[in-house]
């Protein structure tokens, strides 16, 4: 991961594209730090990370990234309000205990939030439930229901409704296929909820929600 890394996972690239150069970023659940490294190398972003797995944290710090071992559910409360330009939660929302609280903290800590998550309304998921009557297990969702870290799946529609309830304004939304490629659908629409395997949202606190 050293040197000028410019190629990262497509969905991470889409997130990176939403970030202004030179901004302050907190990546919650930053994994091995691929996105942070990319943001630093290509956009000069002042990035920090929180990662649950010690292996991930150590890999990040070995690569010179500022990352701490921590839990999205418990450790976001420590951060002061408006400390970052962006708080990113990439493919982690569904693994948190209290997604709403996590999103609330993200909106408080960052001027903007970027959230990506798998869509449980995707037609293959629906058909697994409908035709086979079992929780979906596939390449993207490899866990059985009893050992999955993903305890709070939602559909894109669920997410959009929650965002509205929380007074989070959607600045951008992208409906993506399994490879992270854009589908060109209205992210809040019925088709996206059926055809998109995952989604990315750039959110901003509505003015009514400023604190």
């Amino acid at each position: 991961m050293n040197g000028t890394t410019s190629s990262i996972r497509v969905d991470l690239q889409l997130i990176a594209d939403m970030v202004e150069p030179g901004s302050r970023v907190l990546d919650v659940g930053c994994g091995d730090g691929a996105l942070l490294q990319h943001l630093w190398k290509t956009k000069g972003v002042d990035g920090r990370g929180i990662e649950l797995s010690q292996t991930g944290v150590n890999a990040c710090v070995r690569n010179g990234l500022s990352v701490i071992q921590g839990d999205a559910d418990t450790d976001l409360k420590d951060y002061p309000s408006d400390a970052f330009d962006y708080v990113i939660l990439s493919q982690t929302l569904q693994a948190t205990h209290n997604p709403r609280t996590v999103l609330d903290h993200m909106a408080r800590i960052g001027k903007r939030s970027i959230v990506s998550f798998p869509n449980f309304g995707y037609w293959r998921v629906r058909s697994s439930l409908f035709f086979i009557g079992r929780m979906p297990v596939n390449e993207k969702l490899p866990h059985q229901w009893y050992n999955t870290p993903n305890i709070h799946f939602c559909t894109i529609r669920d997410f959009v409704v929650l965002g509205r309830e929380m007074n989070l304004h959607v600045e951008r939304g992208l409906a993506l296929n399994g490879d992270g490629l854009r589908l060109g659908l209205d992210p809040a629409g019925v088709l996206a909820n059926l055809l998109a395997e995952q989604a990315v949202f750039l959110l901003r606190r509505s003015h009514t929600n400023e604190r």
Partner: protein, 411 residues
């Protein structure tokens, strides 16, 4: 107590020549044992202006002994200050002039090592109150001409850091590239970052805490009581009586040494194995290997460490509490520009991970730039001194990242 503890020959070794030409022997006039020339540098600080200590006393002029490795670059931007632990000293990466053992951080400091001396200029000073060249209780009190003993002022971690700052001033270094250390060294690193944030680019507190816990104060008190209960201590004036409280100091070291290890490490190393015998003796000899080991630790320690120094330095650690001085730990680091990397070890019960995590939470509260890793190790507190590859890689990676951010050229 084994007989060997009672009277130890002062081991005198012919050390290297003093690099700065200072006469190292003069300050040892107060010592009863033969003086030895120590390698390294030594400087008088607090000459123009005395150092105001936390206890209210102004100290100066006073000597500080330090050692350096590597070369200071032209813009003096590559200096790393290493802060030693309670019983450490400035001999970080060379054969110790008294014990003959490798430097205490030989694994970390040197060409191609995480603190790469081909790239960085590494400084380590004997702490205030120490007994290897920096002023301490065994030196002569200028007011009386006799060894200070307990008339030496009580010093704090902040005082140690203030003295180090004078040294850094003397070396003409505006900003340290990094300040780091384990245990008491971590306390100094934190204090540096809190007190002189503009003088530190990065801080690496390893196996440390923002305050000394009640349990740790308790262990220190056991050690101090052991020293003071030794009749040879003479109320701290043992040098005037030409004795040393070796027995008390050895017991203090033995008790402390247990806290540096872990149950797992002790069990792996010794188990219930017997020492040079096949059966129990039904007596109080060192039947078990672990007893023999601890006695050895005690005996070798008294050769190189001054008992009063041990009292003063343990006290400095006990008094350490960043929140007491700054209000909260977070307040100590408000708007800090320093990049932090905290490290803890899973089996360290003296400075357990929650202590480091508390500092991390405080740093998060002020949105500081912080990394934190917990290293899996069963070697207890001492793990920071030992060969832990993951730890080495983390340290190396953090420093590389900092060098990149600071624009420090790879030489």
């Amino acid at each position: 107590m084994p007989a060997a503890c009672q009277h130890l020959p002062a081991r005198v070794r012919a050390g290297k020549k003093s690099l700065t030409g200072h006469d190292f022997n003069s300050s040892y006039a107060a010592m009863s044992e033969p003086a030895f020339p120590l390698p390294g540098h030594r400087i008088e600080l607090g000459v123009d202006e005395k150092l105001r200590l936390d206890c209210g006393i102004a100290l100066g002029p006073f000597p500080v002994a330090y050692q350096t490795y590597g070369t200071l670059n032209a813009d003096k931007s590559n200096a790393i200050l290493v802060c030693h632990a309670l019983t450490g000293d400035q001999f970080v990466a060379e054969t110790h002039p008294i014990s003959g053992k490798p430097g205490w951080w030989d694994l970390m400091v040197g060409p191609g090592k995480p603190l790469d001396t081909d790239r960085y200029f590494v400084i380590c000073a004997n702490v205030l109150g120490g007994c290897l060249g920096t002023v301490g209780p065994k030196d002569a009190n200028p007011a009386t001409g006799k060894p200070y003993g307990l008339s030496f002022p009580v010093i704090t971690i902040a005082d140690m850091v203030r003295a180090q700052r004078l040294l850094i001033d003397h070396l003409g270094i505006d900003q340290l590239f990094a300040v780091m250390g384990g245990s008491m060294g971590a306390m100094q690193a934190l204090d540096w970052a809190a007190r002189y944030p503009e003088r530190v680019f990065a801080a690496v507190p390893i196996a440390g805490a923002a305050r000394h816990s009640a349990q740790n104060i308790a262990f220190h008190e056991v050690g101090r009581q052991a020293i003071m209960a030794d009749p040879d201590w003479h109320g701290g004036d043992y040098l005037l009586h030409d004795t040393r409280p070796h027995r008390g100091l050895a017991v203090a070291r033995m008790a402390a040494h247990i806290t540096y290890l872990s149950e797992t490490a002790l069990h792996r190393k010794f188990g219930r194995n017997l020492q040079d015998r096949d059966t129990l003796t039904y007596g109080f000899d060192a039947d078990f290997q672990v007893e023999s080991y601890l006695r050895h630790q005690g005996i070798t320690f008294v050769e190189r460490f001054d008992a009063n120094s041990y009292l003063y330095i343990t006290r400095a650690m006990d008094y350490f509490d960043l929140a007491a001085e700054f209000g909260t730990v977070a307040a100590a680091f408000e708007n800090t520009p320093v990049r932090f990397c905290l490290v803890s070890f899973t089996s360290d019960w003296l400075f357990p991970t929650p202590e480091s995590r508390a500092v991390v939470h405080a740093l998060n509260a002020v949105a500081a730039n912080v990394s934190f890793v917990e290293i899996e190790s069963d070697k207890g507190h001492d793990a920071f001194l030992l060969d832990e590859p993951e730890f080495r890689d983390v340290l190396s990676g953090f420093l590389n990242g900092c060098a990149e951010h600071k624009g420090l050229k790879a030489t």
